[in-house]
């Protein structure tokens, strides 16, 4: 809130402040769209098969093997980055969807029903959150085995605890509004109140949260893969590619840096988009206050 709102033209100032954000957001959108297309059409784009050995040499130079060189087994890095996009982004998307469905449902339920339901849910989730998330995931995966299903469900469960917190807090705020009281007084059930009264008023902050959690999912998968408990060979994903090719750095190869750069560009883009979105919705809110 600024006190000195009286400037020659408040509109122009607003626009110029917004446009910096907007340019960054456009670039970020383009980068993200690029990776999404790559992920969707991976088999069409990739020049080779993802397990195809092209050379006997480790870390072949760019040009000798494919456009970006070969990895420690002599496979094409470009091909594996393309397939890795599919694996990493696809898993992150599934994890985010499951995490949000579960997290929002439980968070809203806890806030709307209150009482014992809220206490039991909140305390259980606190208990889960008390463990460092990587440690927890390592323990679960180590004991249940390394399959994609276990990987997805474990990370989704951990993501859901974070979503639970956010959506419970949002629903708590919205739940005390009179229109929710009116719905209760009308005799509406929990499901209606959660779906029709609370959810539409929580979409803004939740949308921002989707972006943030999606990035975390990518980082989480990559971290687990890097530690060897994530996506298993011969499937390519960005985290395991970094690990597999780590020694390449000693030979002056870019092999581990390429998937690392992929992770960085995607997460950075999403963060920029989220920032732009929050900035935009803050402005919308201040516009609404004006009315």
């Amino acid at each position: 809130m600024t006190i000195d709102a009286q400037v020659p033209s408040p509109v122009r100032v607003d626009k110029s402040r917004g446009s910096g954000f907007q340019t960054a957001a456009w670039i970020a959108f383009t980068v993200l769209l690029f990776w999404m297309l790559v992920a969707l059409f991976a088999p069409l784009i990739a020049p080779y098969g993802q397990g195809e050995l092209l050379s006997d040499d480790s870390f072949a130079l760019a040009g000798d093997v494919g456009l970006l060189g070969g990895d420690y087994l002599g496979r094409d890095i470009l091909t594996r980055v393309v397939y890795g996009a599919q694996m990493t982004l696809g898993l992150a998307a599934i994890i985010t969807v499951i995490g949000f469905a579960v997290g929002i449902a439980l968070g809203f339920l806890a806030a709307v029903s209150g009482g014992i339901v809220d206490t039991v849910l909140s305390r259980s989730i606190d208990a889960v959150m008390a463990f460092p998330s990587i440690m927890l995931a390592l323990i679960v995966i180590a004991s249940l085995g390394t399959s994609l299903e276990v990987l997805v469900l474990t990370i989704a469960a951990i993501e859901a605890t974070r979503v639970f917190r956010v959506s419970r807090a949002l629903a708590m705020d919205i739940g005390v509004m009179d229109f929710v009281e009116v719905a209760r007084a009308r005799g509406e059930g929990l499901w209606w109140i959660m779906r029709r009264e609370i959810f539409p008023n929580a979409t803004g902050p939740l949308a921002a949260e989707v972006g943030i959690r999606f990035t975390y999912a990518i980082l989480f998968i990559s971290a687990l893969s890097f530690l060897g408990l994530g996506v298993q060979p011969p499937n390519a994903d960005w985290g395991s590619m970094v690990r597999e090719n780590l020694q390449g750095l000693l030979f002056g190869s870019f092999a581990p840096l390429i998937p690392a750069a992929a992770i960085a560009t995607v997460t950075f883009s999403i963060n920029l988009i989220v920032d732009w979105f929050l900035h935009k919705s803050n402005r919308d809110i201040s516009d609404e206050i004006l009315q």
Binding site: I3, D4, A5, V7, D178, A185, R196, P200, E288
Partner: protein, 607 residues
């Protein structure tokens, strides 16, 4: 001598989100002399707050100054750079906002906030500022002036907080005070307390003030001159006496009409309308309700409350905030299950919790909330808001629903086209009409109206009350009308129940309760209703009820009569230990008091 503040041909433009700039103040000129109180009155949207803020050279976000001059001591403050304006604010011109609760930061102590201006501008040392603040608290008659500064805002009452706003505003001895509806959200008794404080402060510091309000009776108490605004233009101006006694402009007369005369003269106006044959069948009965908040250890807010609503009847529930009026509405609607007692609808006892009631039971008792803004889901269109009860209770199909929503909108005097709008596209009064339409959609027997007009302008609120009356005649619905505004209730209700600290202190037909008022609390409420008359404030402060009852908070007590601490007639040893017995003056009129009816009647004659 030049005027302290001179506004010359001021134009201000505002831009609705996504829209173009429109003029909201259209060439207003005015001046304020030293030591003078100027009142700006008008409905919301008339530009009165915008003009008031111009004296700080401040335009709200989305607004800009489009022309004119604002001269403070001859200097055009609109022409100043932002940096140069800062020393003015708080130090030379101070602003008191409508809601003290929203203006205080809950995380900082009161003392810190009251002395903030002095410290920020470096006008005095922290110790001096604190000392001055304590003096100001004392002169404003605030409790415990020495310790007050160390408290946090939630630890004092709303009226005290509003008076602390005044303390904050005068902390640097400003030349000009801007008071933006500082009493609008308050109870009548608190309003008197705050008005008296403001008046004292203005007099003591000999500062000039601009007082913004829509309430003419408040203005009559405090202003020297009045400017009537409508749609960003000056309609009429003159001394308070001129405007109050001989308004010339039609718009001023309209504003005057909207202020209800004090209930003395009109009490019982509602009874005449009652159909005597209908008054035999109670549609809603509340028997011995006790209710409270808190899961483990209940804080009891309502004790042993009885209420009977006959069909087609209007029952008014009055009392200050904190008396349990809204709690009563929540208990009846089943949102807050009672601890004991029962609620009977058409002869059937209703389950305490709304989840346990049948759909038709819920359908027949509808509730309309005070805050029209937050009672409508901002993400739903009006047709969905009004259409939902039709779908929920009556399983009405989409086409029938569309038709019925149109009818309901017309019933509450809104155009049918509003169906496709979102709540934010409506004004406060229109929103309240939509709220009402939603309640009517269920075709209830009883509508619980919880302060439905209190957060609205006088004119808009009066229109809502008129609509309620019309609807009652047309549809034969009964109302439980909850309000702290005694004059509105008096003109409207057939029966009145006076609640104090969760207990019924008096109930009966409107005429019997109000003329004459027997219970000392009823009398305090009645005498606190402002009149459009200069000097009323001084007169009322001299009455015994005011001396013992104003500036006191509602306290929930376990034993004795709850009103003991504020009652001029309290009998020590009886009233503070024994519950007040219910006495009957005549059939249907009950007074809860230890004093004999004859004593109370004698008191009235003495008055």
């Amino acid at each position: 001598m030049t005027a302290l503040l001179e506004i010359d041909d001021l134009w201000v433009e505002g831009r609705p989100p996504g829209g173009d700039f429109q003029s909201i103040v259209k060439g207003v000129s005015l001046s304020v002399n030293r030591g003078e109180v100027l009142a700006l009155i008008g409905e919301s949207g008339s530009g009165k707050s915008t003009i008031c803020l111009a004296a700080l050279a401040y335009a709200r976000p989305g607004c800009r100054f489009a022309g004119g001059k604002v001269l403070l001591e001859g200097q055009d403050i609109l022409a100043l750079e932002a940096e140069d304006r800062r020393p003015l604010r708080g130090a030379k011109v101070a602003y008191v906002a409508q809601s003290a609760a929203a203006a205080f930061n809950p995380a900082l102590t009161i003392g810190r906030q009251v002395t903030e201006v002095a410290r920020t501008h470096g006008l005095m040392s922290a110790a001096d500022a604190d000392r001055r603040a304590v003096e100001t608290y004392r002169s404003l008659d605030l409790p415990m002036p020495e310790q007050l500064g160390r408290l946090y805002p939630h630890q004092v009452s709303g009226g005290q907080l509003q008076r602390l706003m005044a303390a904050m505003a005068v902390s640097c001895d400003p030349m000009l005070l801007l008071l933006d509806e500082p009493t609008t959200a308050l109870d009548v008794t608190t309003q008197i307390e705050v008005l008296t404080a403001f008046k004292a402060v203005i007099k003591q510091h000999n500062s000039a003030a601009i007082y913004v309000t829509h309430d003419l009776s408040v203005v009559a108490q405090i202003a020297d001159r009045i400017i009537v605004l409508n749609d960003g233009m000056i309609m009429e101006q003159g001394t308070t006496q001129q405007i109050v006694e001989q308004p010339t402009h039609d718009y001023t007369k309209k504003l005057m009409m909207a202020v209800r005369p004090p209930p003395r003269s009109t009490a019982g106006g509602g009874t005449a309308r009652t159909d005597p044959s209908a008054s035999t069948a109670p549609v809603l009965e509340v028997r011995g309700i006790t209710a409270g908040y808190g899961r483990v250890k209940k804080k009891i807010v309502l004790r042993d409350v009885d209420l009977t609503v006959n069909s087609r009847q209007v029952v008014g529930v009055i009392g200050e905030s904190g008396c349990g009026k809204s709690t009563l509405a929540r208990v009846i609607s089943g949102l807050l299950p009672q601890v004991s007692g029962e609620i009977v609808h058409n002869g059937t006892v209703l389950a305490p919790a709304v989840e346990k009631r049948s759909k038709s039971e819920i359908q027949s008792i509808q509730i309309v909330f005070q805050m029209a803004d937050v009672a409508l889901n901002p993400r739903q269109r009006i047709r969905d808001i009004i259409g939902r009860p039709l779908e929920f209770y009556m399983n009405m199909g989409a086409a029938a629903r569309r038709e019925r929503v149109g009818e309901l909108l017309e019933l509450v005097e809104l155009p049918r086209e509003f169906a496709t709008r979102f709540p934010k596209e409506l004004s406060g009064g229109e929103k309240q009409r939509v709220n009402l339409a939603r309640a009517l959609a269920a075709e209830p027997d009883v509508i619980l109206c919880d302060e439905v007009a209190s957060s609205l302008d006088t004119v808009v609120g009066a229109a809502i009350i008129e609509l309620l009356k019309d609807l009652q005649e047309k549809l034969g619905v009964a109302y439980v009308f909850i309000s702290h505004d005694l004059s509105t209730v008096a003109s409207f209700a057939d029966e009145i129940m006076v609640l104090y600290a969760g207990r019924v202190v008096e109930r009966g037909p409107t005429m019997d309760v109000l003329s004459p008022p027997f219970h000392p609390y009823t009398r305090l409420l009645l005498s606190s209703v402002p009149e459009i008359r200069q000097g009323w404030l001084e007169d009322v402060m001299k009455t015994r009820e005011a001396i013992s009852g104003i500036s006191r908070e509602v306290e929930l007590t376990e034993v004795g009569c709850p009103f003991f601490a504020r009652c001029p007639l309290a009998i020590v040893g009886t009233c503070d230990t024994l519950p007040a017995p219910l006495q009957q003056t005549k059939v249907g009129h009950l007074v809860a008091c230890h004093r004999d009816i004859e004593d109370l009647a004698g008191e009235i004659i003495q008055h």
